[in-house]
């Protein structure tokens, strides 16, 4: 009898020991998991900070030198939003929001060669269609950029602006910022501010928005390449090929 009770007690102790060991292992694994999770959060945060640190926004706010945009357009006729000779056989419309990050990348990478190879030679005429759908800073930027077009300096202004893009809708598009961009792009800031709230600018922006809807533009940057009434939508990657095709037609 006594030996049976003692065997039962021994088995219970054994079970408790096994349970305690299993519990300790579970806790240890949870500690491993929590540690891995914590380290992962830190590593990802550092990686994101490093990734953000390298973008154009940071470069601009750090005051790094930004290439002057004037050379790209020097000597090319401008008329409002138009760039290039009116006699050009192919027209390229560029739809942009000035806060759009990828618009700025295309502006830096693709456009200079298009301007040099096709616009400067008189084959292509480009037209800026400035949109403002990303938020309040886009509206301020679009009004001022369109006003710069009245001085035939819209292309310089837009390119200089995109080289200095700040954090989206952070309120960075204030008077001081617009004046600084105007200065490097050769725009008379006082004249542009006076025109920015006028009817001419309002109508131009409404026309750009209407044109985007009619063309089926679904994002920026988008390009529309046309010749003799035939139009083709193209992304930045496909722009060069679309222009070449249009020139061959």
């Amino acid at each position: 009898m006594g030996s049976r009770a003692s065997r039962k007690a021994g088995a219970a102790r054994q079970r408790r020991a096994v349970d305690e060991q299993a519990g300790a292992e579970r806790r240890r694994r949870l500690v491993w998991f929590a540690g891995a999770l914590a380290v992962a959060v830190v590593v990802v945060a550092v990686a994101i900070a490093a990734s953000r640190g390298g973008d154009a926004t940071q470069a601009a706010t750090d005051g790094d030198p930004v290439p002057a945009p004037a050379n790209t357009f020097d000597g090319i006729p401008q008329d409002g939003a138009w760039l290039g000779a009116p006699s050009a056989s192919v027209v390229v419309e560029e739809y942009v929001d000035l806060q759009c990050v990828f618009c700025a990348q295309v502006t830096r990478t693709t456009l200079p060669s298009v301007v040099e190879r096709h616009v400067r030679t008189g084959d292509v005429r480009m037209r800026l269609r400035v949109l403002a759908f990303l938020g309040p800073d886009s509206v301020e930027a679009a009004r001022f950029a369109t006003a710069a077009g009245i001085q035939d300096r819209q292309w310089e202004f837009v390119h200089a602006f995109m080289d200095r893009q700040g954090e989206e809708n952070s309120g960075y598009v204030d008077e001081a910022f617009l004046r600084s961009v105007a200065e490097v792009s050769g725009v008379d800031a006082d004249r542009a501010f006076a025109a920015a709230d006028g009817d001419e600018v309002t109508q131009a922006l409404a026309a750009a928005e209407g044109a985007a809807v009619d063309a089926g533009v679904q994002g920026t940057p988008s390009f529309r390449v046309g010749r003799d009434g035939e139009w083709e939508l193209a992304s930045g990657d496909a722009l060069e090929r679309a222009i070449t095709d249009a020139l061959r037609r």
Binding site: E25, R28, R29, L30, W32, F33, G35, A36, L37, V39, A40, V41, V43, V44, A47, I48, A50, S51, G54, D55, A56, C100, V101, F102, Q105, T109, E168, G219, T220, S235, G236, D237
Partner: protein
């Protein structure tokens, strides 16, 4: 199918996806972008590199590490695999956010990688928490 087997399969698939993305980024080739996505836009963006290293290449290293760790035993190794997978999941999630919200384009290859990293994070976490071999 065990969590380890799923990890191995997902790692192999990830090697294929990240290998192709690395080829596109390093070879400056045009990505085959099924589903009408914006692969070229995403690959041309600032988000496509981390400290000058193409993210496709980082993914390649990550998947290779996860594949190797699936064959190594021990709790510390399972914790390491979980760590690698969670980092991959976090960064893939961030890149997806950037592509959709800032670049306004999606790349099916990047979304595939996010799905694979999610699978790997779940399976490796389960392996660690359950004490699987």
């Amino acid at each position: 199918m065990s969590a380890r087997t799923i990890s191995v399969l997902a790692s192999v698939a990830g090697l294929g996806v990240a290998g192709y993305m690395s080829y596109v980024q390093l070879g400056e080739a045009e990505a085959v972008c099924f589903g009408g996505g914006g692969c070229s836009r995403v690959h041309a963006s600032d988000a496509a590199e981390l400290a000058g290293v193409p993210v496709g290449l980082l993914g390649l290293f990550g998947y290779a590490a996860l594949l190797a760790l699936a064959f190594v035993h021990g709790e510390a190794m399972r914790a390491l695999a979980t760590l690698v997978a969670l980092i991959g999941l976090g960064f893939s999630g961030y890149l997806t956010y950037v592509s959709i919200v800032e670049i306004e384009a999606t790349c099916p290859w990047c979304l595939s990688s996010l799905a694979l990293m999610t699978t790997l994070a779940v399976t490796n976490s389960l392996r660690l928490l359950r004490g699987d071999r």
